[in-house]
Amino acid sequence: MEGISLITLKEGKEAKIVSIIGGRAASKRLADLGLTPGTSLRVVEKAPLFGPIVVEVRGSRLILGRGLASKVFVEK
């Protein structure tokens, strides 16, 4: 079970990262900012028209481009 993509999560919902697909560079960038498997996060805002999404993770907020966010798989 790979979970669902982060972008399908509604605003205000919390979830836990189960896996990150995509290249080493992308997953490294996410890991540097504290987005690793097992991390809990909350979707704060989603910009309209497939814009970026804001997540709250480890007490701070990060803006993730939609493409990058679609590579993060979560589980409620």
């Binding site: 896996s19 997953s27 991390t39 910009a47 814009g51 970026p52 007490g59 907020r61 803006i63």
Partner: protein, 638 residues
């Protein structure tokens, strides 16, 4: 000094050394490392400000530089500055730094913001858990700065053996692998500590694999085996497993030292965030804020520029009265004129523009602009951060070129830089409004802006298709809103203004002299005649525009000033048809970046690219100018 971006490293650095690093509520400004010296209690301390980074991998050049510096140059101590309001995320970097095994001090900055957020941090406990000195600081109020130095000096004089520091342990399985690999590395010679090398090998760090591979290829094989084992157990790439271990450790430490009592009512900052990032409201709010900024800057600019201009004319009389009118005195005057022309852009337009911008930056709004426009920017192959230099470009293209440093990759930096030179700056606005807006109508004037934006989009799409490489996704911190610190904003504005003058001055003065020389030698008319097939034949403009366009290279609004001088009237409608006015404004907008912009572009991207962009712009402006002129003339006849 090392740490994440946007934690106040540069503020502390400036306070220590009195040098002036770029500061603002925006991640990723210190791209090159800055050095400075200070004397404290009889010691001479060299301070080095490393770029803001999130890890010590080889993902970016900044990270590579930083870790090499720390491991190879072996500074006496490293000050790791972290954001108190963002402890957990910042500690991930701290853990990586500690792996490098150099003496370190943790400066927990911005502790003044904790109270508002209902957070308390147990500093003593944090010190114990990490095994290094921890100093709370409020950098902008100069609190805790001397403590950092005191603890640092203590650290040096105590000769504390680094190996005696309590080791922070990761999870059991991972620790076992690290120990196994460390044993294999015993024979290997390196500036880096063995444990760190082992961790990096488990993270599949290419640089380290290369380094070890030449000495002991068997270690690499062992590392590969261990990586595979980790991957089998956890189901993720081994580098992710290690990263997750660090994150877990950071969160455990954080939970032990932090106490949060959430304020019941949403704070003012919170509400401000809700409005400015709102799905629908966010956009009109953004447009309103930016329009207000442009309008204010422009009104102020026109007023003060006129004021400075009249002072300048008086000075010219004084100068001529003193030195007389000769070839040499006019060349001398050309130098003064160039310097003055720079001041005349810098003070009226760039100064207020910078002030507004740094105010918004310090407030935390610029990150919201990046958030709101990311989608749009993606359509032209760059991401939301690029919006900042593009907005800057409306004030002046010079700072916008310099601002492109915030983009992550070379490719994106160039695309953004290239596009910013097409943004109509305040000088171009003077032409558009003074020529088209005044004599043709406000609608065609806005039409020109619209055309500029369309061009930027079209070219952006084209360039991002043509240039090799993948577009990078936006990933950045969303800083909390905070009340801007006025002293910081004002200092920032001032230092950037100085930078602008220093970069632009040499080229502006040289080209000022060359043009003056051409004028004295009487070659300007000749050049205008040579250019006439283009200016008259293709663009349908009077012959003198050739002269105007040459002057415009120096400073674009000179096109309008010279037009008035050469025609002997400011009522341009007497001489130019509406179609000619629009064409002239259009060509002025696109035809060449002014020398100051070329200078800035060269500094950021090199002569080759600067000249290529200039050449492209000339051809582009001539092409589009002729087409627009024909279309306009055609419709005027109908």
């Amino acid at each position: 000094m090392a740490g994440n971006a946007n934690v106040g490293k540069s503020v502390i650095f400036n306070q220590l050394t009195g040098l002036h690093q770029h500061i603002g509520n925006w991640a990723g400004k210190t791209v090159e490392k800055a050095e400075g010296t200070l004397n404290y209690k009889g010691y001479t301390i060299n301070v080095l400000d490393l770029p803001g980074i999130y890890s010590l991998t080889t993902y970016s050049i900044e990270e590579l530089i930083s870790r090499e510096y720390i491991a190879v140059q072996k500074p006496d101590f490293v000050v790791n500055i972290i954001d108190a309001t963002n402890l957990e995320r910042n500690l991930i970097f701290t853990l990586q730094l500690l792996e490098l095994g150099r003496p370190a001090i943790l400066a927990v900055n911005m502790v003044n913001l904790l109270k508002k957020q209902g957070i308390t941090i147990d500093i003593k406990k944090l010190e114990r858990l990490l095994g290094i000195p921890v100093v709370p600081t409020e950098a902008i109020y100069r609190k805790g700065i001397t403590e950092i130095l005191d603890r640092g000096l203590e650290l040096i004089s105590s000769q504390l053996l680094i190996s005696s520091l309590p080791k922070l342990k990761y999870g059991k399985e991972v620790e076992q692998e690290i120990e196994k690999l460390t044993r294999f590395l015993r024979e290997v010679e390196s500036d880096y500590p063995k444990r760190w090398l082992a961790i990096k090998l488990l993270e599949k760090d290419r640089e380290i694999e290369k380094l070890i591979g030449t000495q002991a290829p068997e270690v690499i094989e062992e590392a590969r085996r261990l990586c595979l084992r980790l991957e089998k157990i956890h189901g993720h790439d081994s580098s992710i497993v290690i990263a997750a271990e660090r994150c877990y450790l950071a969160s455990q430490i954080t939970q032990k030292v932090i106490e949060v009592t959430k304020p019941k009512n949403p704070s003012l900052e919170e509400r401000l965030n809700d409005i400015t990032c709102h799905k629908i409201l966010g956009y009109p709010v953004m447009i309103a804020i930016l329009s207000l900024m442009f309008l204010t800057v422009f009104k102020f600019g026109n007023w003060s520029s006129g004021l400075l201009g009249s002072i300048f004319i008086d000075w010219q009389r004084v100068y001529e009265g003193f030195f007389g009118v000769s070839v040499f005195s006019s060349l001398g005057w050309a130098i003064l004129e160039s310097v003055f022309s720079l001041i005349q852009i810098a003070l009226p337009y760039i100064l207020p523009f910078y002030f507004f911008l740094y105010f918004l930056e310090d407030l935390g709004y610029l990150a919201r602009v990046a958030y709101l426009t990311d989608n749009l920017m993606h359509k032209i192959g760059i991401h939301g951060k690029a919006c900042i230099p593009l907005i800057l470009g409306f004030g002046c293209n010079v700072p916008s070129c310099l601002c492109c440093r915030i983009m992550e990759t070379e490719r994106e930096r160039f695309i953004t830089g290239f596009l910013t030179t097409f943004v109509p700056c305040s000088a171009v606005t003077v032409i558009i409004m003074g020529l088209v807006g005044k004599f043709v109508g406000i609608a065609p004037a806005f039409g020109l802006y619209f055309l500029a934006i369309l061009t930027i989009f079209g070219l952006g799409k084209l360039v991002s298709k043509v240039l090799p490489g993948e577009p990078t996704e936006l990933i950045m911190e969303m800083p909390d809103y905070k009340m801007p610190h006025f002293k910081t904003v004002i200092l920032q504005t001032w230092f950037r203004l100085k930078e602008f003058i220093f970069i632009a001055a040499p080229l502006v003065i040289i080209s000022g002299l060359v043009i003056k020389f051409l004028q004295i030698a009487g070659w300007l008319d000749l050049i205008a005649t040579i250019l006439s097939p283009i200016t008259v034949g293709w663009l349908g403009l009077p012959v003198i525009t050739g002269v105007l366009l040459i002057f415009g290279i120096l400073r674009k609004e000179l096109i309008l000033v010279m037009l008035a001088t050469l025609l002997g009237t400011t009522n341009f409608a007497q001489i130019l048809t509406p179609a000619q006015m629009i064409t002239l404004a259009l060509v002025s907008m696109f035809y060449v970046p002014c020398v100051a912009t070329i200078a800035a572009f060269r500094q950021e991207f090199g002569w080759g690219k600067a000249l290529a962009v200039t050449g492209f712009k000339i051809l582009f402006a001539i092409g589009i100018g002729g087409i627009v002129y024909r279309l306009l003339s055609f419709f005027a006849q109908v």
